[in-house]
Symmetry: C2
Subunit: 147 residues, 2 copies
DNA sequence: AATGAAAGGAATCCCCC
DNA sequence: GGGGGATTCCTTTCATT
């Protein structure tokens, strides 16, 4: 992992579908060694994959909400049940176990506020072991995705 | 935007670097119309771009922290100054203006806890108009990125 | 470990359906 | 709006330095 590898990662983080030929030109290499490096970065797990960034509104997910969750009990089985259940909700885009006032921070994407109300009442409330739920509705996103 | 478009988005969201030929086969189209659809989705802004997913630890960003920020003043100029300053911090991966107990929710990535302490004291504390900062350190990520 | 050439394959465009 | 075919570019491998 040298400066060239870091340059490759920096380009691919922003332009994941750039051709190997263009990528090679950007980092000052010929296509062959550039491709070798990309393959090595992929196989070693440094590059985990590639994603298209989709406009949420175009797929009916205009509303982004962050949710702080406190659990009722912290025994291993209770925690596992909650974690299992939360990862099965398709609305939950990200889920983190965190320190501080909350046990978990979830990021969910839904169509609109009525859809969130429905999710809150019928999905979150039915998760096992949930004590409290604090919702933070996104009004504006200043920055999304970086590297 | 029909079911085929949605199928294309679903595939590209998970395999952003799939070849057009393979993508066409997946959605039951021949390469030509498939490429036309992808180009249309890109030009209309439904597809915003493509990103490689990089292992944070491989680029010295092993620690992910969520930060709730409350501002001291909410006059337009004060808000603008904060927003401008926060988007210039490279450690800040995401920044959202939210409802609820906090004004902003930031997501930052740094090397480790000492690095975060430094960021907290020397970068966040120097942002204009910041009243309070609440840190939520990620211990485990259950799910990251979805579609 | 990078280069350059060469072969195979894919993307892309045009035209027809 | 979808399919087929020709061209062009890219990817990929291998021999070489």
């Amino acid at each position: 992992m040298d400066d060239v590898d870091r340059a490759i990662l920096s380009v691919l983080a922003r332009e994941g579908r750039i051709s190997n030929a263009d990528l090679a030109a950007r980092v000052g290499l010929s296509p062959s060694p550039c491709l070798r490096r990309v393959n090595r970065l992929e196989q070693s797990g440094v590059i985990r994959g590639y994603r298209a960034v989709i406009d949420p509104a175009a797929v009916g997910r205009s509303l982004r909400v962050f949710i702080g969750v406190r659990l009722a009990r912290h025994a291993r089985a209770d925690v596992a049940a909650f974690e299992q259940a939360v990862t099965e909700l398709s609305e939950v885009v990200n889920a983190h176990h965190i320190t501080g006032n909350f046990d978990y921070l979830l990021q969910v994407e839904v169509a609109d506020l009525p859809a969130y109300e429905h999710f809150h009442a019928h999905q979150l409330a039915e998760l096992p072991n949930v004590a409290t739920v604090s919702s933070y509705v996104t009004m504006k996103t200043l920055r999304r995705g970086n590297a």
